[in-house]
């Protein structure tokens, strides 16, 4: 494995500066627009987002200060062909993830067969003993999955990480499209783009299809949010609103007659499916963090009695573990019997002495991540870090090598963003959203493109100055 991979691939222009076919129609349109008018539209987009309240809270910032995730109006475009292959790979991976989770909480065949070291599970907080031997309604673990993809070449899409726990960002996918259609309606009559707007309806249908057997003909679905100070509150409210589901907080819920019920103005009403945006640890003060006020006391007992569906299932976070991630090629093959269609990013497990030695010798070229981390926190990006930062990180790494994995600094593909000076390439990733139910796996065409707005930056996380783009999958 090498510590850096390839030269940067730009998705709009090839090496000679010629427009790639995917962007041809868009580019034609773009060239015909008045620059000053585009600048005005750009400013208008920000006002639109502020007015609609599409904001997120940044942890560690001044009390409750709300920020916008910057929106860039140049779309990220994927051809029908590219998407066909991607969606086959995503479908395969998500199928494997669910089979893997079922196995982990039952016979652990994959450990018995020697393909996955048992030590990855032992003492891993994301592995929940409460789930062992229990099969969730419909045998679905990851009702909603986000697969983070990066691109390094014409045909090279790789999975950067799996988000089986609680992927967020889908509201931005939807609002970005709404914004683009409001700003440039004529663009959508010129270019045939596959729609995404029915995601909430599909989510509602998919969740209802996972309802427990005690549910009526029209299962009652509720979205559980930690509340208005959570960074993704807007999304929780947005999805509940679009699905026509109640948006509940822990304080609205309690156990009544062996069901989870919400306090309505006329008394307690039972719920069949909880789409929870609260972490496992806060879900049930009786089973997990006893100080939690965000969850529902006793929900795990009701869950294990098969009288409520929790989406995603508790304990799915184990699949997000970055040490487990490094085994995904084996996992996919073990459960599907097929070669993985989507590749992993090459990964060094620092728990292995040889790998650790390599990582320590090459820190300045590598990206090092905590195995349990997320959101771009607690990671080192070698090439853009100072010596001091690298030295400090090295100490942490030496102290707990098993807590880290390392990856080459990928030359993430670029897509231009709109700047006052014209188009300028910036690095992007892609998070497609996947719904799982007994009825099948449903992938929304496109997903959320995150873009590092700072020139040369590879960090696309919104908490670290990233923005988003509308993501188009072209019709055939």
């Amino acid at each position: 494995m090498q510590s850096t991979i390839g030269a940067t691939y730009d998705e709009m222009y090839d090496a000679d500066g010629t427009i790639r076919p995917a962007y041809a129609r868009f580019h034609d349109w773009y060239e015909g627009q008045d620059r000053d008018w585009l600048k005005k539209q750009d400013a208008e987009a920000e006002r639109f987002f502020r007015r609609t309240g599409i904001t997120f809270n940044v942890y560690g910032d001044d009390a409750g200060e709300e920020r916008l995730i910057p929106f860039d109006m140049i779309p990220r475009i994927i051809t029908a062909n590219e998407w066909r292959k991607l969606s086959r790979g995503i479908e395969q991976r998500v199928r494997a993830l669910n089979a893997f989770l079922h196995d982990l909480y039952h016979r652990q065949e994959i450990v018995r067969s020697g393909r996955l070291p048992e030590r990855l599970l032992r003492g891993n907080e994301a592995f929940l003993p409460q789930m062992v031997g229990f099969t969730p309604p419909g045998d679905v673990y990851t009702h909603v999955v986000g697969i983070d993809l990066v691109r390094t070449g014409p045909d090279e899409f790789m999975v950067l990480e799996d988000n089986a726990r609680t992927p967020s960002g889908v509201s931005y996918m939807l609002e970005n499209r709404e914004t683009m259609m409001a700003m440039f309606p004529e663009l959508f009559s010129r270019v045939a783009v596959r729609p995404v707007s029915d995601y909430p309806r599909r989510l509602a249908r998919s969740l209802a299809a996972c309802a427990p057997s005690c549910a009526g003909e029209r299962p009652v679905v509720a979205v559980l949010t930690p509340g208005i100070f959570n960074s993704a509150y807007f999304e929780h409210a947005f999805l509940a609103d679009q699905m026509g589901a109640e948006l509940v907080e822990g304080s609205d819920l309690r156990v009544v007659d062996g069901r989870i019920a919400m306090r309505t103005t006329t008394g307690y009403q039972p719920i069949d499916v909880i789409y929870r945006r609260v972490d496992d640890d806060y879900l049930d003060p009786l089973s997990f963090n006893k100080d939690s006020v965000l969850g529902v006391a006793g929900i795990m007992d009701i869950y294990r009695a098969g009288r409520i569906t929790i989406a995603n299932a508790p304990g799915t976070g184990i699949a997000d573990d970055k040490a487990i991630y490094s085994f995904m090629p084996e996992i996919v093959e073990f459960y599907t019997g097929e070669k993985p269609i989507l590749q992993n990013v090459p990964t060094w497990r620092c728990s292995e002495p040889e790998a650790l030695k390599y990582v320590l010798d090459n820190l300045k070229d590598l990206v090092v991540k905590e195995v349990h981390g997320s959101g771009g926190y607690g990671m080192l990006i070698g090439p853009t870090s100072s010596r001091g930062e690298i030295a400090r990180f090295e100490q942490k790494l030496r102290a707990r090598p098993e807590n880290y994995i390392a990856q080459p600094t990928l030359a993430l593909s670029t897509v231009p963003i709109f700047t006052k000076a014209g188009l300028a390439p910036r690095h992007v990733d892609l998070r497609p959203f996947v719904l799982v139910s007994p009825g099948g796996i449903d992938i929304t065409p496109g997903g959320l493109t995150r873009v590092a707005l700072k020139k040369g930056s590879l960090v696309v996380n919104s908490s670290q100055g990233g923005g988003t783009k509308d993501s188009w999958v072209l019709e055939d």
Partner: protein, 314 residues
């Protein structure tokens, strides 16, 4: 609907109404300052603080009732939890927490009101732009009401919003009367001096009733008529009777949807009967102050019953 959502939308409406009422009261102080000079205005500023229940907190910080000091405290005092800015923050937080119960337009106008007024109140307000600020508060809160009126289903959600609005309004008009009753009282039987006329007019102005009253009474001001207008005139949208009428129709809406009445209905019915069966003469004979005190207590009891019966909190 969730009890917490009912609570949220009820308080969102109360806070917006309270912000608007504060603005109207400030407008009266402002007018006094413009027309009667600093001394008379200072008395009016104090009365605004008393009416809105902020006088104690104010005196802990300040010695005198200088206009800019008072209106900045009421509008944006950083440690005044009852400031207009705090009310707008509260209204918006409540709106956010019940986002799914609001239409997009209702939410957006609330959010916009908060953004516009927060920017206007980011720096100390000077006498020269007080008028603009007051007008903006009235306009923004009116827009929210308009958006709700024009886009929301007439269901339980709307009923709880209206209950919040009219509990707050009944309480506010009653408190204005309570603070000002002495202005109306000594002169109930005789035609006042021009100073009295100004005082009476401020009472009307605090509830945006000056024009309507003049129109109904061919320009004649008399304190008994003013008291009657603010308490008993069912045509005036800030009178006590009007507010209770609205409480009654919205509680009736809830009873229809939920298939039954609650203790809130009983309390309102009793209080409303008192209000409907009394004349202004009887009110004054029995003591305006006592009447108002009683009314405020009734209103509080009704609002507590609404919160308990509809499970606002566990």
């Amino acid at each position: 609907m969730l009890g917490r959502s009912a609570n949220g939308i009820y308080w969102m409406s109360r806070y917006l109404e309270r912000a608007e009422n504060s603005a109207r009261l400030l407008d009266v102080g402002f007018r006094m300052a413009l027309t009667r000079g600093a001394q008379a205005a200072s008395e009016e500023w104090r009365s605004v603080l008393v009416t809105t229940g902020q006088d104690v907190a104010y005196r802990q910080k300040f010695e005198d009732y200088a206009g800019p000091q008072v209106f900045n405290f009421i509008l944006r005092g950083p440690d005044n939890p009852a400031s207009v800015l705090a009310m707008l923050d509260n209204a918006r937080s409540n709106a956010r927490s019940v986002r799914t119960a609001l239409t997009r337009e209702a939410w957006e106008t609330t959010n916009e009101a908060w953004m516009v007024l927060r920017d206007m109140l980011a720096r100390p307000v000077r006498e020269t732009n007080l008028g603009d600020v007051i007008a903006a508060i009235r306009r923004q809160t009116t827009q929210v009401r308009g958006a709700m009126d024009g886009t929301m289903l007439r269901n339980e959600i709307f009923n709880f919003a209206r209950l919040g609005t009219f509990i707050e309004r009944a309480d506010s008009t009653a408190r204005i009367l309570d603070v000002k009753y002495y202005v109306l009282l000594p002169s109930l039987s005789w035609v006042g001096s021009s100073l009295d006329n100004v005082q009476w007019e401020t009472v009307l102005r605090s509830v945006a009733g000056d024009r309507a009253y003049r129109w109904l009474n061919a320009g004649r001001l008399d304190p008994r008529g003013i008291a009657e207008f603010l308490i008993l005139d069912g045509r005036f949208p800030r009178s006590l009777v009007f507010s209770y009428d609205k409480l009654a129709s919205n509680l009736a809406g809830l009873a229809r949807q939920y298939g039954g009445e609650t203790s809130a209905h009983e309390l309102l019915r009793a209080a409303r009967t008192k209000l409907q069966s009394v004349s202004i003469g009887q009110i004054i004979e029995g003591g305006l102050h006592e009447f108002i005190t009683d009314f405020i207590a009734d209103t509080i009891r009704i609002s507590q019953a609404i919160a308990a019966e509809y499970r606002f909190i566990e």
